[in-house]
Symmetry: C2
Subunit: 436 residues, 2 copies
């Protein structure tokens, strides 16, 4: 690494976000250099295909398809990675850090899965590693957890951190759309990919809450320990019934800390319509942090897209630039569990204690509710409300919507298994948890 | 200043917040030391009267009434000031910084009025100066403006940053309370002081928006350049009419940047009920930042009180502690206009261009509206809606509520002067601006 009188940046990836970062670095008014206090220059851009036409003003001679032109160049002080995916991104970043190149990455999957190795490489190379853009886009949540909120013991994070999912849920709530139609519309608008699995099945949110929980609790919360349910099973009537009960349906990524352990989960929930998180609509994201001192803090903004992601990436770049200028040793975020504290166990979903919304399709006859309530009662599940909703005279069935008082997840799962096997119950149509 | 193997802290002020900071620093599990990476110790606490009983566990031998015991002690590395007021706080902090002691302050008045001198002293002494608690309490807004959002050109800030005012407005909106009753209730609840002028007349919010605007725009926006109106002239019917028109009434602290200049103002406005800022209730605060890249980001949380303020103060303390540990030179926030850019002028309120809500008490007879509309029309003010509201048959008067399309402030002020002098107009009861 050069003994910097200026900072040379190597950019990996020139898609939507890479184009945004490049245009900020190439801008003639040099705001980034002014903020850092020394010249910051884009030197090389790694692309897959250098002949492709791009809507950026990156000079063609900066483009390369050979990672060695960045990783092997001792004059490159900092690597900004916005290419995405695990391989080869994780390998490139690990090598960059170990050789003393600072790294800014927007890669949630790499940070969630390989964060600890990357921090190890960073310590080895004496390099900084920042990743504000990996969760919450333009919302300054990661820096807040690593900085301004550090005085708190963070007790919980509840977040809407997948814009695609929230866009679909918003369409289903306001237009009464079917999931498949809302998804098709999101794809048309460019908010969902051709294969939407990563978003709608919750994987993207799992990576993000894994990162946020690891920072908040100062211990590693790997993605495989995050319980996950997608939103594809939701039906228009769930939104209708939820609204009648005073709730919105949102997919939340939740992380909790209590003396018994850490919990982390991604799933659709009922949340009161007048709760701040119930009002986050469209592609917006929001993260609510509950801390021992600050109480509840909520950050709301655009979680994805060229501008917001560029904002986060360049913010990190300026931060590292200032540290280079000030010759500050790298910050250890405690991200990988290096805080010296004994890590708490991850709590089993079986032990979750919350309220439940249960929608059943039942035979429209007397005595059905009695049979169902007996099963619930025997398992210690107390009913909060029962709504007999739409009836379907043609096949003599009806929809029954039950909400419970706080109950144990394992008991509810067992109850649903038993209820589903009753002769008078045609189908357990849906089960959702309720957040208050 | 000692060549720190540990960090000695001197605390100025042992009120509600001082007690919170002291209890975190004295806590036996030493989380702050763990976060900083070296021991952080409370050494001395400056109080007005050391014999007073306090509900903190600060050992009596730490208390002193002599500022020299902190300022003159070379072993004290950092001063945390939570005493409030201009004098003697500004003098103490200036001296501490010039002699190389790092400073964390929660003092909005000192930062707004004397920020530039303090930063000068900090540069002179090679010390850090942080002030997260001076605006927004537990909301991490100042650090975000100084860090994660730096890649943006900030275009505007709109904020609810005085909890007392917002509590009173919330009571007036939901209970139909008179201002004086809502204020009395806020005083009973401990949310308003015996002399509420500082809060309800907007001075407190002026200091805070002065700080936020200076950070956001990288130039000094002194409090005397912030236009200010309080909330004491609001009446219950304003809330009623606003709601009918689809608006909430909130006191906003606003700062804007456009090529012609910087604008800063604190006043009550009508804002759509479904806008995020329209939903911020009670003592909560919120700050909405619009940036060139990030779009709109909103931060919501507790803006005052022991916990949230302690969270911000101790967050700053950890930040500085890490810089001491890393031997990083002090950060220059560009707060005092040291960015090297040519500062933009402050725009006159006369040039404000916005929509207006006007409530008039008029004689209940034909032709009144014609006379008023002629005046407005002649001044180029276009009417958006007219509501003839409550009539008072006993004195043959009626209330007329007019909203305008975007108009120039100077024209509206002139129109109100002329309308007020009409024989058929008994009173211009209120004028409020409308934020969209």
């Amino acid at each position: 690494m050069s003994q910097a009188r200026k900072i040379n940046v190597g950019l990996m990836g020139l898609g939507v976000v890479g184009g945004g970062v490049a245009s900020v670095l190439l801008d003639t008014d040099q705001q980034v250099s002014a903020q850092v206090g020394m010249p910051v220059t884009l030197k090389k851009v790694l692309v897959r295909d250098s002949s492709r036409q791009r809507d950026t003003s990156v000079p063609v001679e900066m483009l390369t398809t050979d990672p060695e032109d960045l990783l092997g160049d001792p004059d490159i002080d900092m690597v900004v990675e916005v290419m995405g995916g695990i391989d080869p991104a994780a390998r490139y970043l690990s090598r960059a850090l170990a050789s003393g190149k600072h790294v800014v990455t927007a890669n949630k999957e790499v940070m969630a899965k390989h964060g600890p190795e990357l921090f190890k490489a960073a310590r080895q190379g004496g390099a900084n590693l920042l990743f504000e853009a990996s969760a919450g886009g333009g919302i300054p949540i990661i820096g807040s957890l690593m900085g301004q909120l550090l005085a708190n013991e963070i007790r919980s994070i509840r977040s809407i951190i997948n814009g695609t999912t929230n866009y679909i849920l918003t369409r289903m709530a306001y237009q009464g759309a079917q999931f498949s139609n809302a998804l098709a519309e999101a794809q048309e608008q460019g908010y969902a990919e051709a294969d939407p699995t990563n978003d709608v099945e919750g994987y993207d949110a799992v990576y993000k809450i894994s990162i946020l929980a690891s920072l908040a609790f100062h211990q590693r919360v790997p993605p495989e320990d995050v319980y996950r349910e997608g939103i594809s099973r939701l039906e228009p009537q769930d939104f209708r019934y939820a609204r009648e009960l005073g709730y919105a349906i949102k997919s939340l990524a939740i992380a909790t800390l209590d003396p018994e352990g850490v919990g982390a989960r991604v799933y659709p929930v009922l949340i009161p319509v007048d709760h701040m998180l119930g009002k986050v609509d469209g592609v917006y994201n929001a993260v609510e942090v509950t801390g021992s001192l600050c109480g509840q803090v909520l950050l709301h903004g655009m979680g994805a897209g060229r501008g917001p992601t560029t904002s986060a990436v360049v913010g990190d770049l300026i931060d590292i630039g200032r540290r280079i200028q000030a010759k500050e040793p790298p910050a250890d975020a405690g991200f990988s569990g290096s805080s010296g504290r004994k890590p708490l166990p991850v709590r089993s979903m079986d032990d979750l204690h919350t309220r439940y919304y249960i929608r059943l399709n039942v035979t429209d006859q007397a005595g059905v509710l009695a049979q169902i309530s007996r099963i619930l009662g025997d398992l210690g599940i107390s009913i909060a409300s029962v709504l007999q909703k739409d009836t379907f005279p043609q096949d003599q069935t009806a929809e029954l919507v039950i909400t419970t008082h706080p109950s144990r997840e394992a008991s509810v799962q067992e109850a649903l298994r038993l209820v589903g096997s009753l002769g008078v119950v045609n189908r357990v149509s849906n089960m959702l948890r309720i957040e208050e």
